[in-house]
Amino acid sequence: MHATPAPARPGDVYFFGTCLLDLFLPEAGLDAMTLLEREGVRVHFPQAQSCCGQPAFTSGQPGEAREVARSQLGLFDQPWPIVVPSGSCGGMIKHHWPTLFAGDADEARACAVAGRVVEFADFLLNVLRIELRDQGKPTKVAVHTSCSARREMNTHVHGWALVDQLAQVERVVHDHESECCGFGGVFSLRHPDISGAMVSDKSAALQDSGAVEFVTADGGCLLNINGKLAHDGKAFRGKHLASFLLERTGGKA
């Protein structure tokens, strides 16, 4: 656990949208970019970006992961922070690229990129020192944090702090809040019974928490839990933290 130091407020940032948001939740990515721009930051989205390599990395295919990661190394030439709207993808780059490239000709480049990665919520809170002005009606939300975001990026604390800035929003704690939702990438495909049991418990805990909806800063968890809720015919849903914050602060119709 470490406190993130407050660096100087940058004028420009790169935005690494992640492959899941790109194809399945693009609105969340756009909302995150809008929030950053509203804070006066110029947001650069390299069009040649695709994925951090995590799906292959966690599937025992580090070679394939490395080649995808390598194709991203040249996209961030300027010394700007790289904002990632997902704790697990951010953690992959920040903490696992250095290992993935250890001894490789591109090790230094990979480490340089890794060193500039900041998770979205962390960036809003600790770099931009955002002050959110809540314009919504009173509501209650639960926060789910992805496990790698929690353990590698300390993101749960950032998510809580941001939601807690909203005057009309009551943040409720759900049962076993720190527990995994059962996503785990390929795990959810290979072990549907166990993953299903985990997401079933997670979605029940979120619904029983008294919250009207839940928020999370990770696309994988969001797709997993919302997919389960929809499968079970429930009306309860979650949304990406970026979309929720933008909505609450009048940035979204």
């Binding site: 656990m1 949208g17 492959c19 948001l21 790109d22 194809l23 399945f24 693009p26 609105e27 990515g29 756009l30 970019m33 989205f45 069009q47 040649a48 970006q49 695709s50 994925c51 799906p55 292959a56 966690t58 599937s59 025992g60 295919q61 580090p62 394939e64 080649e67 995808v68 390598r70 194709s71 496990c147 790698s148 353990r151 590698e152 527990e179 995994c180 059962g182 996503f183 785990g184 990438g185 795990f187 959810s188 495909l189 290979r190 072990h191 549907p192 019974d193 166990i194 993953s195 299903g196 049991a197 985990m198 997401v199 079933s200 797709l223 997993n224 997919g227 389960k228 929809a230 499968h231």
Partner: protein, 481 residues
């Protein structure tokens, strides 16, 4: 050497086992409750986060130093124990260990062995072997005794009968212990068990135990326990045979202190165990009790394979506290039996492949969301998620590929088709033009997205691409400004 076959526990049926387990509401509820209880107990032992982290670092350092010197420490241990009058035996396989132990008992014409808790003896299926060779082995740890009466296997490494209800134990005792009344009162049940076991210590020809720490410097076998049965097993019968894995050796007596200080706190949430036994020698002239013969059997059983690889060696840092399973969202949903291996939970997933080979265990390393809860609580900082990923890599590796330290069963999960899928994935995701074409197609053909997507759609609605990718939305936004 005996040819008696060891029944390995093939984990090939892991998926079927876990399917049954998650659909058993009683099992789900009881493991969830038990694990919640143990997590709370552990948390209460470590109120100061910084102190905990310092202790974990110390534990890690001690274990890594001892492992770095393992070959020398094992020689030192043997020399020191021999000088103390303890006979040391080396076993590469479970079969060898069983044959050694049976040979020692047979030499005394022994018929009854009373056992303290030993997971290594579970590895070798010692009870089964002895039974087949005319020696009765009675478990004396209450949990192990229950499991043995039920004809089952431990479902947790430190709480073997955690899957049993009070009612089940009451029935078991009522049916198996002469004149035992049916009672669900825990104190009464424990007393019934104790009374049944008490006479065994006096009758037994041999006591068998595990070892928590084997100290090279002094030739001391340390045994951590709560019930006093370990002390009885190692002092009352005329012969004591200890069995343990080669990784349990520590360099100095002072190394035991940091490890023992974090072990019970991580395991059961106890500040300290009720008993801590230090065994250094057989009964000396003039002493009134203690075994006349003490033996130590050191078992390899795949540990050398883990040891040979610098990264996988960390697996051997384990001090068998079980905290990783207590905190594991997978273990707490399927329980210990579903794994089909002696060691369940996260530690089982990373150690079993060395004992049984990846062919029989390839489903274990993948059965994790890599949430990291195990690594976070491990008192000796084993990076369990990293080990899981590495084992996935070895299972997916081409079986023909030459590597410095090949694992048994390398390539167990290798399939040319799967390799091609990943290669295709890499091609698409590393070439911007291809990725752009792929995401355009995926979004435009979204109505044709398969409704069944492997395991995903068993519990979830299908993943369907959005109408436009983020790349595309960003381009549109820029051009509209």
């Amino acid at each position: 050497m005996s040819t008696h076959p060891i029944t390995v526990h093939p984990a090939r049926s892991f998926k079927a086992n876990s399917h049954d387990a998650v659909n058993d509401p009683h099992l789900r509820k009881s493991f969830r409750g038990a694990m919640d209880f143990l997590m709370a107990k552990r948390a209460a032992q470590f109120p100061d986060h910084n102190e905990l982290e310092a202790l974990r670092s110390l534990g890690e350092t001690v274990r890594q130093r001892c492992l770095a010197k393992l070959p020398q420490l094992l020689e030192k241990l043997e020399a020191q124990l021999t000088a103390n009058g303890v006979k040391v035996h080396w076993a590469e396989t479970p079969e060898e260990a069983n044959a050694i132990i049976h040979g020692l008992i047979a030499a005394r014409n022994g018929k009854l062995a009373v056992k303290g808790k030993s997971m290594v003896s579970e590895e070798t299926e010692l009870n089964h072997y002895l039974e087949a060779h005319g020696v009765q082995a009675v478990e004396s740890d209450m949990g192990e005794y229950i499991v043995q009466l039920a004809g089952e296997k431990p479902s947790h490494i430190i709480m073997p009968a955690i899957h049993k209800t009070k009612a089940q134990i009451a029935t078991l005792f009522h049916d198996n212990i002469p004149a035992a009344p049916y009672t669900e009162d825990v104190d009464e049940l424990i007393q019934l068990g104790r009374n049944a076991l008490r006479g065994m210590y006096l009758k037994a020809d041999v006591g068998i135990s595990g070892v928590n720490f084997a100290v090279a410097e002094t030739g001391t076998l340390c045994l951590v326990e709560n019930e006093g049965n370990g002390r009885m097993c190692t002092t009352v019968p005329d012969m004591h045979i200890a069995i343990t894995g080669i990784e349990k050796v520590v360099e100095k007596l002072s190394d035991v202190i940091p490890l023992y200080s974090i072990l019970p706190r991580s395991a059961t949430g106890q500040a300290i165990t009720t008993y801590f036994n230090m065994i250094s020698r057989p009964r000396q002239p003039g002493e009134k009790d203690g075994p006349r013969e003490v033996h130590l059997v050191l078992l390899d059983n795949g540990r050398s394979q883990a040891y040979a690889d610098e990264q996988l060696r960390k697996t051997l840092q384990c001090i068998r506290c079980g905290a990783c399973m207590n905190h594991c969202p997978v273990y707490s949903r399927i329980g210990g039996h579903a794994y089909g291996t002696v060691y369940p939970g996260p530690i089982g997933k990373i150690i079993s492949p060395h004992m049984l080979g990846l062919n029989d265990t390839q489903d274990l390393p993948t059965a994790s969301s890599l949430c990291g809860a195990c690594g976070e609580v491990c008192p000796v900082r084993i990076p369990i998620p990293e080990m899981l990923m590495r084992l996935r890599e070895e299972a997916a590796r081409d079986p023909e590929e030459k590597v410095p330290h090949p694992l048994a069963g390398q390539g167990a999960a290798y399939s040319p088709q799967l390799a091609r899928v990943w290669s295709l994935w890499r091609t698409v995701y590393s070439r911007p033009a291809l990725y752009r074409a792929f995401s355009w197609l995926a979004t435009r053909l979204r109505v044709f997205t398969p409704r069944r997507q492997l395991g995903w759609t068993v519990h979830r609605t299908p993943l369907t691409p959005a109408k436009q990718s983020l790349h595309e939305l960003v381009r549109q936004r820029q051009s509209s400004r």
